[in-house]
């Protein structure tokens, strides 16, 4: 029973984080990043994302026309760098405003 509750809590926590995933990723792509560096940066900020989730997500966001990407060879192997384009920047602004409104509402509800 305890295990079931723990598993439900874990599932709900994952669901909660999943909702914020896109916003978290977009927030860190104002400057160009490649998949691994982005993951490291998000983990350092307290938002660890599984690599198996993050890398395909970058591709999907690019396919949705929110990111621009290019291959670069700098100090290491060739890496694909992703960066917000103008549409992605506008979406980030919208999502940020929505998120902040949601935080205010949730804080009020959770008092």
């Amino acid at each position: 029973m305890v295990r079931t509750n723990e598993s439900s809590a874990s599932t709900l926590d994952t669901e909660l984080r999943r909702g914020a995933l896109v916003l978290a990723v977009l927030s860190h792509l104002r400057t160009a990043q490649y998949g691994y560096s982005l993951r490291q940066a998000l983990t350092e900020q307290g938002m660890p994302i599984e690599e198996g989730t993050l890398y395909p997500l970058l591709r999907r966001l690019e396919a949705q026309g929110l990111l621009a990407s290019d291959w670069r060879i700098e100090d290491g192997p060739p890496r694909r760098y992703y960066k917000l384009n103008s549409k992605g920047t506008r979406l980030l602004a919208d999502l940020t405003a929505n998120w902040q409104a949601l935080v205010v509402t949730m804080n009020r509800l959770l008092k």
């Binding site: 691994y36 890398y55 591709r59 060739p78 694909r80």
Partner: protein, 321 residues
């Protein structure tokens, strides 16, 4: 096994499952990312990368099939969930109709059961395939040319492969519309009730004197056994409908009674149609029965719709006892 070979094999397995245009690009990116992931995991483990660490990294990343599915463009549903119930009903109906139409040949010994199964029984299932194709194409068209979200207007392309589109909900429908129609038709109903008491006699008074109205005389047997209950039912229904139309509370209270009378009326009409002659004159009888059959068909459908509506209505007793 060499760690790079493990990663290479994994990346190839993923790439093989990807659409051709993504294959190389994603494969190359994945190889770089996994190699860096492996380096980081080895650093955390405090030793050089080895096959054990590589396998651990790849296991965490996911099975190649799952990973490919995450990268590949999302698939689509051949039959959208909102159309599944109607698809099942249509497929069942088509199979049932083909069986119902063809089985009498077996029952009347014109065909063996084996022959029937080979010729008609099994082939009825081809309707399912046909409907899958139809709904699939319709589903593709609806995705390719979506409905205008503001106006709710469907593009003309949706009508090429028509499926029963979900109707937009409007409050009060369809009962309010039915009541409006019922109220409007009430005077006609009253006139018909009076007319059917003695059509030949009424026509004799309406038409020029000397006109032969014997063709409108009832059959004796029908007149003795069914006419009175039918006219009485028509009259009582009309009174109840009029009372209910004027008062909503009365409408709810008399619902079961009105439905019972309606079913009795339709049942009596079926009896009249199939139980013998209604009019003494053969041609009048045939024409009237043809009209009556259409009327009965419409009413039977309406009764079934009504039963379904009432059966699916939310009731407090169902949950709270």
């Amino acid at each position: 096994m060499d760690t790079q070979a493990i990663i290479e094999d994994y990346v190839n397995k993923v790439a093989a499952k990807l659409p051709r245009k993504l294959r190389n690009d994603v494969g190359l990116e994945l190889r770089t990312l996994l190699t860096e992931q492996l380096g980081s995991a080895a650093l955390d483990a405090g030793r050089l990368p080895d096959s054990e660490i590589a396998m651990d990294v790849l296991r965490r990343f996911g099975q190649p099939d799952e990973v490919a599915a995450r990268y590949a463009p999302r698939g689509f549903q051949l039959i959208e969930p909102e159309y599944s119930p109607v698809f099942v009903k249509l497929a069942t109906l088509c199979v049932a109709i083909q069986w119902a139409v063809s089985l009498p040949a077996v029952l009347t010994s014109r065909m063996t059961l084996g022959d029937w199964w080979l010729r008609w029984g099994f082939s009825a299932f081809s309707w399912v395939g046909f409907l899958v194709l139809w709904f699939g194409i319709s589903s593709w068209i609806q995705r390719r040319f979506p409905t205008d979200t503001v106006s709710g207007i469907r593009p003309w392309t949706h009508w090429i492969f028509w499926v029963p589109f979900p109707r937009e909900w409007r409050p009060g429908e369809p009962e309010a519309a039915e009541w409006r129609a019922g109220t409007n038709a009430a005077p006609l109903g009253a006139a018909l009730t009076i007319f059917f008491i003695a059509p030949a006699w009424i026509l004799g008074h309406l038409l020029p004197s000397g006109t032969d109205t014997s063709w409108a005389l009832y059959d004796d047997h029908f007149q003795r056994r069914l006419l009175t209950p039918l006219i009485a039912l028509m009259a009582v229904r009309l009174v109840l409908l009029a009372a209910a139309a004027l008062n909503e509370l009365r409408r709810a209270r008399t619902e079961a009674l009105r439905f019972g009378l309606w079913v009795c009326f339709v049942a009596l009409l079926y009896w009249a149609v199939f139980g013998g002659r209604i009019f003494a004159h053969a041609i009048t009888d045939a024409l009237f029965k043809a009209w009556l059959l259409i009327f009965l068909l419409v009413n039977t459908i309406q009764i079934l719709v009504w039963i379904r509506r009432v059966a699916t209505r939310v009731r407090i007793q169902k949950t709270l006892g």
